[in-house]
Amino acid sequence: MKRLLIASAAFAGAFALAGAAAAQDLDGTITIEGSVGAKCSAVGAFGETVDLGELAGANGQLASGLSLTRTYSVICNGANVGVSIDATSLENETVLTAPTGYARVIAYVAQVDINTVENPGSAADVFTLTDDSGDAAESSGSLGAGVFVANSAGNITISADTFDAGTDLLIAGDYSAEIVVTLTPS
C-alpha cells in the first residue's frame, strides 16, 4: 500500500521578522549664555606730543592764530560713555616768576568732539566738551542713554585755540602743557 506523505502546512509561509529599536535618548540640549563687558579701546595711538613751535610773534608778544587739532579712533561698545577733558596752561618750564610786563603762562581753550550714533537710522551727532586751561577744574559729561561713540575711524577730535597771554612779552624758554581726555565706559 502506498503511503502518502503529505506536506503539512503548519506555518504561515514566508514571514519576516523585524527587530524593534530600543527606546533610548535621541537628543541633547546645549544652552549657552554669556556677557560682553563695556569697554573702550584705542585703535592705534591715542595721544601724542604736539610741538607748536615759536609762540612769540615778531613783537615778542604771543603770536596770533595758534591752534592745534588732532584726530584719533576709539571703539566703545556701550552707550552713555563718560567723557572728561582737563587742560593745563602752557607754562615756562624754567622761569617760575615773570617780571612785570612779561608773561610765562599762556592760557587756551581745549575741546573734545566725539562722533556719536543712536538708534539705527538716526542721524549722526557730535558730543562736545570744552575746558579752559586757566580753570583748575576739569570739564566732564556723558554721551547720554542709548548714545554710542560712533564705530568709525577718526571719531574723536581734540583741539585747542583761543591762546591768550595778554599783551605782555613772552619770557624765552620752553613751554609745556597737557590736555587729558578720559573716556569711561558705563
Binding site: M1, K2, R3, L4, L5, I6, A7, A9, F11, A12, G13, A14, F15, A16, L17, A18, G19, A20, A21, A22, A23, Q24, D25, L26, D27, G28, T29, I30, T31, I32, E33, G34, S35, V36, G37, A38, K39, I75, C76, N77, G78, V117, E118, N119, P120, G121, S122, F148, A150, N151, S152, P185
Partner: protein, 203 residues
C-alpha cells in the same frame, strides 16, 4: 482477500491565504520507499528577517554654560556617547545662529556674537567622523545651511560609518576666538543660544 491495485491521490496545496509556497502552488505527492516516487517532498519556506537600527545616546550631549566677556574668546566641549548597532548620524540646530542679545544695535554695532560648532564622533574599531560649522549656518533659517544642520535622520546629519557601543567619547565643541568683526559687539549681559543635538540610525 485484500484489495489490490493502487489509488493515487493528488494532494493540492491549499489552505489559509497566509500560506505561501515558494515555486507556486503545485500538488506534491510523496510515496513510501518502494511505493512510488518521489519519496519525499520539500517544502521550501522562505524566511526573511532584519535587525532594525537601534540607536541612542548612552550619554546625551547636554550642557549649560556661561561665558563672561565672551568677546575675548571661549571654548567648551560637551562629551557624549553613541550606542548604535550600525551606522548613525548626528545633527545639530542653533536657535539663534549665534549668541544673540536683546535690544537694538545702532549702525556699526552688533548684538550677535558668532561661534563655531565642531562635531567629533567616535565609534567602535577606531571609526570616526568630524566636521565643523558656523553657528550661523546651523540656524533653521540659514541661507547656506551647513552639512550637519537639522534633525538627525537616515540621511540628515554627520555620519558615523560604523557601530558604537557607548564606550567611546564623542563631543560637541563650541568655540570662538577673540571677537574681531567689523561691527563692535554691544556691551550686554544676555547673549544666548541653544543647540539641539539629535541622533538617528543611518541608512
Amino acid at each position: 482477500m485484500g484489495l489490490s491495485g493502487s489509488i493515487r491521490i493528488a494532494i493540492i496545496a491549499s489552505g489559509a491565504a497566509a500560506l505561501l509556497w515558494a515555486g507556486g502552488a503545485a500538488a506534491q505527492t510523496a510515496y513510501a520507499v518502494g511505493q512510488g516516487s518521489p519519496n519525499s517532498i520539500t517544502v521550501p519556506i522562505q524566511v526573511t528577517a532584519s535587525v532594525g537600527g537601534a540607536c541612542g545616546f548612552d550619554i546625551a550631549p547636554d550642557g549649560d554654560y556661561f561665558f563672561a566677556n565672551l568677546d575675548l574668546g571661549f571654548t567648551q566641549d560637551t562629551v557624549f556617547a553613541i550606542n548604535c548597532n550600525g551606522a548613525s548620524r548626528v545633527a545639530v540646530t542653533s536657535a539663534n545662529g549665534g549668541l544673540l542679545a536683546g535690544g537694538t544695535a545702532p549702525n556699526g554695532f552688533s548684538l550677535i556674537a558668532p561661534y563655531t560648532v565642531e562635531l567629533s564622533l567616535v565609534g567602535d574599531d577606531s571609526v570616526t567622523a568630524a566636521a565643523s560649522c558656523a553657528a550661523a549656518d546651523l540656524a533653521l533659517s540659514a541661507a547656506s545651511p551647513c552639512s550637519f544642520r537639522g534633525t538627525a535622520s537616515e540621511i540628515v546629519g554627520l555620519e558615523l560609518g560604523g557601530p558604537a557601543d557607548g564606550t567611546s567619547q564623542s563631543y560637541v565643541r563650541i568655540s570662538a576666538p577673540a571677537y574681531s568683526g567689523p561691527e563692535a559687539l554691544v556691551a550686554a549681559s544676555g547673549y544666548e543660544d541653544t543647540l539641539t543635538v539629535t541622533l538617528a540610525a543611518s541608512l
